[in-house]
């Protein structure tokens, strides 16, 4: 409503008016619209004066104002139109922007979905990677453990090898020492042999000399003996001659004595007597000289006989020497053979290391056998270790292959992830570009709405943009996390690769060692087969083993049986003869009294012996019966079972011993256990009592499973005792 007089200019903030102002974009002049204010309160007097003045010029003013207003209105209309066009354009732009926004929102949603899908895939991949990493870590730890174990085994084997090498070195040193000793001993043996040969040669020479000497002595003695024989013959003849002469002289002497005695009785002339006496004395002297000569001859004869004896002795010595000479030839031949054998044995000893003398051979064989046994044990251990190593090798190879496949899979996955990440990054870059474009568009819109009067839509755009920015920031954070995870995975993969390479190297080394072990095992197997053949031959070490055989062999038993049978046959014959003799005795009485008395005496003795033997047998039987009954009662009281022993025969003819046990705590006579004993083995027989439920269970547990009959009987005794006493 147009006032007639323009009121004073009021500010927009006056309470009397309610100027409405609107911001319109694109207009520089502000249009003030005046409206009749509601009836004001009764104004004071001054304002009434003003109003009258005002009413005076209202018409012109109104016209002016009207014109101005019209101008302003037209301008405003123009501006409004412009604004409207601008608004339309803005609306169009806004709609375009809205459409773009929608499109962007759709793209954003799509990208969000893709992001979510990628996140899901990433999560899945992460989980898979984590599980694979865990698995690979576990496998890695297992491989590490196996590697540690292999290392430990390697170290042990190295230590064993070192020990073996050291022992081989010590053995070589010992062998060298023993070889030195052997050479020394062989030298000493050679020297001794030479000395012995020299001694033998000297002895031979001496023997030859002695033989020649003895021969010469023998010849001399033979000559002497011949001479002595001739002399003795001569002397014998002389002796006989002298004896005859001596006898004649004695006779003459007796005659002369007689004559002398007759002469002495007669008184004859002394001169003739003295002459006779002288003559006789001279004859006696001559006879004494002859007697002396005869005695000498006799002594010479005795000497000749002694010489003969000596000759015989010398002959015997000569024969002995000749026999010894022949023996010496034989001894020399045997010596040569022994020397040849000695040389061959020495050559054998030289071939055998560590043996210096024949006594060492036994020790050497025993040590070799011990070594063989130890080596066989070591071979078995090495074989088991080899098998374990093979198993470990296969396991590590499988692990390596699986780790390689997993690494390849992880690589592929990481590459796929990388491509996904790249794709996501590309998408992100696109999205950020779009975001920036949108930002720019939004800023433009903001600017346009701040100049114009487009309400409302910008705020929602701002919130969406903020949301978009926040989601983008989150995406960027996710991407950063993914990149971090990828880098970590790469590091892990690199580490795994390096470890796999190390493991491969170790596997190659282990394979080489396995081949060397295989070669050693083949060599040891061949040695084992050789030694087994030797063992199979029956060789043994006297230090550890003793060979025994039964004395009571079948041959001895057979011989004893044969002697027993022969004695029994003789006994029967003697009995038959005894019966025949008794019959004869009954038939003829007087004729055989003497013989009968002798026979009856013998028969009485034999009968007495038989009676005593029978009494002894009965006594033994009673004593045995007493003792066995005492033993049975004691067994029953000590172990709680009455035992009855029977001899049975199986259908196939094999005799077996059957034992029937009845517990003293048995409640009826049917509670009996039957066992069969054959060649050291006892087995329980099934009967009514043994096939009962509880008993059968106990049999199954104690006898079948644990193979212990005493445990079964003890358990049964305890159960029956408990039943009797407690229940």
């Amino acid at each position: 409503m147009i006032l007639r007089s323009p009121p004073p200019k009021r500010l927009k903030s006056d309470a009397g008016g309610s100027p409405i102002s609107a911001n319109a974009s694109g207009s520089g002049n502000q249009l003030v619209i005046y409206e009749d204010s509601p009836l004001p309160a009764p104004a004071p007097l001054q304002t009434s004066n003003d109003q009258s003045d005002q009413h005076l010029c209202t018409y012109q003013c109104r016209q002016m104002v009207k014109a101005d207003v019209l101008d302003a209105f037209s301008k405003a209309e123009k501006q409004v139109q412009e604004y409207q066009t601008q608004l339309q354009t803005l609306n169009a732009n806004f709609s375009e922007a809205d459409a773009e926004r929608k499109q962007l929102r759709d793209n954003l949603l799509y990208s969000k979905q893709e992001l979510a899908a990628a996140k899901g895939r990433e999560k899945m991949l992460q989980e898979q990677l984590l599980t694979e990493i865990n698995n690979s870590q576990e496998r890695y730890t297992k491989e590490l453990q196996s590697c540690h174990e292999l290392e430990v085994k390697l170290q042990n084997e190295m230590n064993l090898r070192k020990k073996a090498e050291s022992s081989a070195a010590t053995a070589e040193e010992k062998a060298k020492l023993l070889e030195d000793k052997l050479t020394q001993l062989s030298g000493s043996v050679d020297r001794e042999k030479k000395r012995l040969n020299n001694d033998i040669a000297q002895l031979g020479k001496e023997a030859k000399l002695s033989v020649s000497r003895i021969g010469a002595d023998l010849e001399r003695m033979q000559c002497r003996a011949q001479n002595a024989e001739t002399e003795s013959n001569l002397l014998r003849s002389q002796l006989e001659h002298l004896k005859l002469k001596f006898d004649e002289c004695l006779q003459e002497k007796t005659e002369v004595d007689k004559k002398l005695s007759s002469f002495t009785s007669q008184t004859a002339s002394s001169s003739d007597n003295s002459v006779l006496i002288k003559h006789l004395q001279e004859e006696v002297k001559s006879y004494e000289a002859e007697v002396r000569e005869a005695r000498k001859l006799k002594s010479r004869h005795v000497d000749a006989e002694l010489l003969k004896v000596k000759l015989l002795e010398e002959n015997s010595r000569r024969e002995r020497a000749e026999s010894e000479l022949s023996k010496m030839h034989e001894l020399q031949l045997s010596m040569e053979m022994l020397n040849n054998e000695l040389s061959s044995w020495k050559s054998l000893l030289n071939d055998i290391p560590g043996v210096s003398c024949p006594d060492d051979i036994v020790m050497k064989v025993s040590t070799l056998q011990n070594e063989v046994v130890q080596s066989s044990m070591k071979i078995e251990e090495a074989n088991t270790r080899f098998k374990q190593l093979e198993v470990a090798l296969e396991a590590t190879q499988l692990g390596r292959q699986s780790a390689e496949t997993e690494a390849a899979l992880a690589k592929e996955k990481s590459e796929a992830l990388k491509t996904d990440v790249k794709r996501i990054e590309v998408m992100l870059s696109l999205v950020t570009e779009e975001k920036e474009q949108l930002k720019a568009v939004v800023n433009e819109l903001r600017k346009s709405t701040s100049e114009g009067s487009v309400p409302g839509a910008g705020a929602t755009d701002g919130t969406l943009i903020q949301e978009f920015e926040s989601s983008l920031a989150k995406k960027e954070n996710y991407l950063k996390d993914l990149e971090n995870d990828l880098s970590q995975l790469k590091d892990v993969n690199n580490r795994l690769r390096s470890e796999i390479e190390l493991l491969n190297e170790k596997l190659v080394d282990e394979a080489r060692r396995n081949k060397s072990l295989e070669r050693d095992s083949d060599r040891l197997r061949s040695e084992i087969s050789l030694l087994e053949s030797k063992l199979g031959h029956g060789d043994y070490s006297a230090a550890n083993t003793r060979v025994l055989r039964m004395v009571n062999t079948l041959g001895v038993e057979n011989e004893a049986k044969q002697t027993i049978e022969a004695l029994q046959a003789e006994l029967q014959k003697a009995k038959e003869r005894l019966q025949a003799v008794e019959e004869l005795k009954n038939q003829s009485g007087d004729a055989g009294k003497l013989v009968d008395s002798h026979i009856t005496g013998k028969i009485a003795q034999l009968k007495e012996q038989i009676a005593t033997l029978e009494k002894r047998e009965e006594r033994y039987k009673t004593v045995f019966a007493d003792r066995i009954s005492v033993f049975r009662r004691a067994c029953c009281e000590l172990f709680g079972y009455k035992i009855v022993m029977d001899e049975h025969q199986r259908p196939n003819g094999i005799p077996v011993t059957r034992f029937t046990l009845q517990s003293i705590y048995a409640q009826n006579d049917d509670e009996k256990l039957e066992f069969e004993y054959e060649s050291g083995n006892t087995s329980i027989l099934n009967n009514g009592y043994a096939s009962q439920g509880e008993i059968a269970k106990q049999i199954e547990i104690f006898i079948r499973k644990f193979n212990s009959i005493p445990a079964f009987t003890a358990n049964l005794t305890m159960e029956s005792f408990n039943r009797r006493t407690l229940y």
């Binding site: 025994l548 055989r549 062999t553 196939n652 060649s679 050291g680 193979n707």
Partner: protein, 209 residues
């Protein structure tokens, strides 16, 4: 197959293992005496053992000899002192050793010292013994014929510190010079491991060849 391999295992004690081995030796010796015709066929009676028809001699002297032998072998096995049992077949006329049936025994010393039992299926052991018995029976095809009357003896290789009863004396090992050897199957009770080997004198025909 997994269920078959995981068959039930029986507990084997030292006493049980010694009984198994000594019983095996008794039946193996009887089988050898029959197959090598050391005693005539009519002296043997058929019994069922190890799932096979086995032949046992009826001669009382041989039976008592075998029973004394198996009881002593069982005692030495429980003490862990027995290394080998050898059945020797010799010519009665010349005393020359013609064949040696060598049963080598390895004992688990831990079981002897501590008395711990082991686990192995009885059926498995019986199967292994069955294989040895079949091989003994089929050895007739390659062992040379024993044309002359033969006798047998049993040697026991023991530790030097073993308590020797008065019915046993030291003996020489009764070796064969340049023998031919054939290794047979063995069996294992997880406490005693028995390997069988037969060594025999080269036949003249083989030497000529």
């Amino acid at each position: 197959m997994a269920s078959k391999t995981a068959a039930a295992k029986d507990i084997i004690t030292l006493h049980g293992s010694a009984a198994i081995v000594s019983e095996f030796f008794c039946y193996a010796a009887n089988s050898i005496l029959y197959n090598r015709a050391v005693y005539p066929e009519e002296s043997f009676v058929k019994v069922k053992k190890y799932g096979l028809p086995m032949l046992l001699i009826e001669d009382e002297s041989v039976k008592s000899f075998m029973s004394n032998l198996t009881s002593q072998i069982s005692e030495w096995l429980e003490a862990g002192k027995l290394q080998r049992v050898v059945l020797v077949i010799m010519s009665k006329a010349t005393g020359e050793v013609l064949e040696r049936w060598n049963f080598r025994i390895e004992t688990d010393t831990e079981v002897v010292e501590k008395g711990v039992p082991r686990e192995k299926s009885d059926k498995e052991i019986m199967r292994e013994i069955q294989a040895i018995m079949r091989q003994v029976a089929s050895s007739v095809t390659y062992l040379p014929c024993l044309d002359e009357t033969c006798v047998f003896d049993v040697l026991a290789y023991t530790d030097t510190d073993v308590a020797v009863p008065f019915t046993w004396v030291d003996s020489d090992p009764k070796l064969i010079a340049n023998p031919q050897m054939v290794k047979l199957h063995g069996f294992d009770t997880k406490i005693h491991k028995v390997d069988t080997l037969v060594s025999y004198k080269n036949d003249e025909w083989d030497e000529e060849e």
